[in-house]
C-alpha cells in the first residue's frame, strides 16, 4: 500500500468532522455545487493517483508483472499469447520456448492470459506490458473465441462488481462494449438489458474512482502470477462418447466473419500493435470439445482473418491426441493436454515461417516470414 492512503484517510477524517449541519440552499444550487465538488475531486484524485501509479491492482497486473520479469531475463525475441482462460490452461509458455529452442529458434514465449479477459482488457494489459518492460514483442497471437465475440460483455457472466470488473470498464473498454451491445453482441433482449445495466454500473463506478485508493497499491508491487495455469485434476466429468464425437466432428463454419464490433476492434488492435512495432499479429484458439466453437475460429481463419497467421484447432491428429483424459472441463485442458497442444503449436510455429530471422535493427532480430 502507498503512503497516499494515509494522507487521503486523514483528509477524509477531517472532512467528515467538518460536515455538520448542512447549509440551506435551493435544490438546483446545492445539486450543482455537490456535483461540481464531486467531479472536480474525482478528476483531481484520478490525476494524482495516476501520477503516482497507484490504482486498483488485479490478477492481470500480476500476470503482467510475471511477464515483465520473464521478458527482462533475456534479450531474445518475444512471442506473446494474449488470451482468456482457454489459453491460460492450454499454453505452457516455458515448454513452448524450450521446444522452439530445440528447433533452432531463440524466441521467448510468454503467455499473457487470464480467465474471462475480453479483447479490450487483454489489449490494455499488453500495452502495460510493453510500457513497463520497454520491449515490443516480435509476434503477438490474439486468442479468438466465439463466446467473447458474440457476447461483448462476457465478463459479466463470470464476475460482477469485482475489483477487476470495475477497473477494466474505463472509457475505452466501455465505449467498445457499448458499441458491441448496440450491435447485438449479447444474449437475447433480457441479456442485452442486463449487460447494458451492468456496463452502466461498472463504468459509473470506474468513473467515480470507486476503490481506486483503497489498496493504494502500485501495479508493480502487486506480486506475480504466471500466465500459464496448469491444472492437474478435472473439475467436471466428461462423457467419453461426447468427447469422442465432439473431437471428431468437423462441421462447416456457419460464420465467416465476427460481429461488427469484434471485427472492428481486432483491426484497431492490430493496427495499434503494428504501430508500436510488433512485426506479426496472429490469431489462434486452443482446442475445445465443442465442434461449433472450433468451426467458428476455423471460419474466421479462412475468411475474415485470411492473410494472417491463424491457428484454428481443427487438425485431426491434434484432436485425436486430445481424445484422452486430458480435459479440465469441456473447454479447458489439463496439464497433459496443454503439453500436447503446446507441442502442436511449436510445430505449427516452426513450419509457418513466422520465426525466420529478419533484418537487423528490428526488435527481437526477426523479420517477416
Amino acid at each position: 500500500m502507498h503512503p497516499i492512503f494515509l494522507a487521503l484517510a486523514l483528509l477524509a477524517l477531517f472532512g467528515v468532522h467538518l460536515a455538520r449541519v448542512p447549509a440551506r440552499g435551493g435544490l438546483a444550487g446545492v445539486s450543482a455545487a455537490f456535483l461540481t465538488g464531486l467531479v472536480a475531486t474525482a478528476l483531481l484524485l484520478r490525476l494524482a493517483l495516476g501520477g503516482l501509479g497507484v490504482g486498483r491492482t488485479t490478477d492481470f497486473d500480476r500476470v503482467v508483472n510475471a511477464a515483465v520479469a520473464a521478458a527482462q531475463d533475456e534479450d531474445t525475441p518475444l512471442i506473446l499469447f494474449a488470451g482468456a482462460s482457454y489459453s491460460r490452461n492450454a499454453i505452457d509458455d516455458a515448454r513452448l520456448t524450450r521446444q522452439l529452442k530445440a528447433r533452432g529458434h531463440p524466441h521467448r514465449v510468454i503467455n499473457l492470459s487470464l480467465e474471462a479477459a475480453s479483447m479490450m482488457e487483454r489489449a490494455a494489459h499488453l500495452e502495460q506490458f510493453m510500457d513497463r518492460s520497454g520491449r515490443v514483442p516480435d509476434i503477438v497471437f490474439i486468442e479468438v473465441a466465439r463466446d467473447f465475440d458474440l457476447r461483448v460483455a462476457q465478463f459479466f457472466g463470470n464476475s460482477k462488481f469485482s475489483v477487476r470488473g470495475i477497473e477494466q470498464f474505463g472509457p475505452k473498454v466501455s465505449f467498445w462494449t457499448a458499441r458491441g451491445l448496440l450491435g447485438g453482441a449479447c444474449q437475447g433482449m433480457t441479456g442485452c438489458v442486463k449487460d447494458g445495466a451492468f456496463l452502466a454500473a461498472h463504468s459509473g463506478l470506474n468513473l467515480l474512482n470507486v476503490g481506486l485508493a483503497a489498496r493504494g497499491e502500485r501495479a508493480e508491487a502487486a506480486g506475480r502470477l504466471d500466465g500459464y495455469d496448469p491444472q492437474t485434476e478435472p473439475r467436471e466429468e466428461i462423457d467419453l462418447m461426447d468427447r469422442a464425437i465432439g473431437l471428431s466432428a468437423r462441421p462447416e463454419a456457419r460464420e465467416r466473419s465476427a460481429p461488427d464490433w469484434a471485427r472492428a476492434y481486432r483491426l484497431a488492435w492490430r493496427t495499434r500493435l503494428e504501430e508500436r512495432g510488433v512485426r506479426t499479429v496472429g490469431y489462434y484458439f486452443p482446442p475445445v470439445i465443442d465442434p461449433a466453437r472450433r468451426a467458428y475460429v476455423s471460419g474466421l481463419c479462412d475468411a475474415e482473418l485470411d492473410g494472417s497467421a491463424c491457428f484454428a484447432p481443427q487438425d485431426a491428429a491434434l484432436l485425436r491426441a486430445l481424445d484422452a483424459e486430458v480435459w479440465f472441463d469441456a473447454a479447458h485442458l489439463l496439464d497433459p493436454g496443454a503439453a500436447v497442444y503446446t507441442s502442436w503449436l511449436a510445430a505449427r510455429l516452426a513450419e509457418s515461417g513466422l520465426l525466420s530471422p529478419g533484418p537487423a535493427g528490428q526488435d527481437g532480430g526477426t523479420g517477416p516470414p
Binding site: A9, A12, V16, A40, T41
Partner: protein, 475 residues
Amino acid sequence: MIFTEPVFLAFLAPLFLTYWFVLKGRESRLGLLLAASAIFYGWWDWRFLFLIGLVIGVSWWVAIRASHFPKAHPVRRFWLTAAIVINLTVLAVFKYFGFFTESTAAALGAMGLKASFPVINILLPVGISFYIFQAISYVVDTARGHIPAEKRLRRVALYIAFFPQLVAGPIVRAASFFPQMEKTKRLSGALIASGGRAFLIGFAYKAGIADNLAPFVDPVYGDALAPGDANLEAWSNSALIAATLAFAGQIYFDFAGYSLMAIGVARWFGYYIPKNFDYPYSALSVTEFWRRWHISLSTWLRDYLYIPLGGNRAGQWMTYRNLMVTMVLGGLWHGAAWTFIAWGALHGAALAFHRAVFIAGGRRIGAALALIATQCFILLSWVPFRAEDFGDMVTIWAAFTGLRVAGPETLPWFVWGVPLLIALDAAMGRSGLSRLSRAPVLREPAIWWAGLGALTALLLALYPLEAAPFVYFRF
C-alpha cells in the same frame, strides 16, 4: 448484508420511502420495521430467525408472567431467573459449547484423565451476544419494575430485533426504546441531516479507514476467521508493533464506525440510539477508557452484573473482586477463547489498580503521563484480544521489549501513522478544532455542498471493493 455494501442501500432506500411516504399509521410502520429486521437478519442465514424468535418469545412471555406477581414475590423471581437461564443457555450452546468442552477435555487431560465429548459443529448466529443481552435487560428491567411488561409481542420483537443495532449493537435499553415506539414521528430535514452526519462519519471510519488497515493486521496476526495461519517468526519486531498499532486503529474505526452508522440509520426512521464511543483513545485512565469505549456494553455490565454482584458497596476487596469478575465475563462475552478471558482479566486488574491507587489512594499524575500510560496499556492489551493463542501473545509482547529474535518481513513505514488518524479524530471531536465546522465559510450553501461532493469523491476512492465484515460481528 452490511451497512457499507451496495445491497444495503438497495434494502434501505425502498424501506425508507415506504416507511415515510406510504405508511402513515404507527402500527403499520412498526410492522414494516419488524419485517425489514427479519429480512435483514435472515439475509445471513434464515435459520437464525428461529433462534431470535425463540429469544423474543421467551422474553415476552416471561415478562408478562412475572408481571402478575408483586415485585419481591418468589414466583416473579423464579420467572426472572428462568428467563435469564434460558437466554444464557442459548448463548452458551451456540457460542461457548465447543470452548467449554475443549477446555474441560484439556483440563481433564492435564490431570491424566481422558474425556471425550460429543463434537457439535454449531454455526455462530451473527449478533447473538448483542440481542441476548438486550433480551436479558428487558426481562430484568420489567422484573425490577423499571418498565412495565409489554403485552404486544410486536413491540418486544422490534426492541430486540431492530435491524440497525441488531447484529453489533449498540445495546439499547428497553426504557429508552419503548417510549420511542409510541411517539408520532415526522420526517424532517433535521432528522435526515443528523442521521446522515452519523452515517457519513461511520462510513468514513469503517470503509475509509478500518477496512484499509486490515491488510496490515491480518498478514501478521493471521486471519481472525481462520485461526492457525499466523506466522509470526517471519515478521520483524517493528512489524509486530506496527500491526498492533494498526489493529488498535482498525478495531476502533470499525466498531465506532458501525455504531455510528447504526445510530444514523435508526435516526432516519425516527429512533434515537445513544452513542457507543466517545473518543476512547483520549482517555486518561482505564476507568475513563471504559466510559468511552463500547459505552452500551460497559453500562450493561455495570447495571446487570457489577452492581448485582455488590458493586463498590461491600468494601475495597469485594469491589476489586467484582471488577475482576465483571471484566473477565466481559472478556468471555467477546469470544469463546482464553485470550479474550486474559484480555478481560487484564482490564479488570487495571481497573482495580486504578481504583486502589488513584481513586481510593488519591494519587495524581500529570495528564500527559496518564494519557501515555493508559494508552500504552490499552495498546498492549489489544495483543491478547487479537492474538490467536497465548504463544502468539507472548511473542508479540516480546517484540515490544526488543528481546525477540526477529524475522525479516516488515510493514510499510506509514503504518506508524495510524496514531495520527486517531489523534486527528479525537482532536476534531473533542478539542477546539471541532469549532472549525461552524466557520462562516461553511455556512455558504455552495461551499458546504461542494465540500460534501468532494468528500463523497474521496470516500468513494477509499472504498474497499473487497469489503471486510465488521470485526464485532463475530462477537
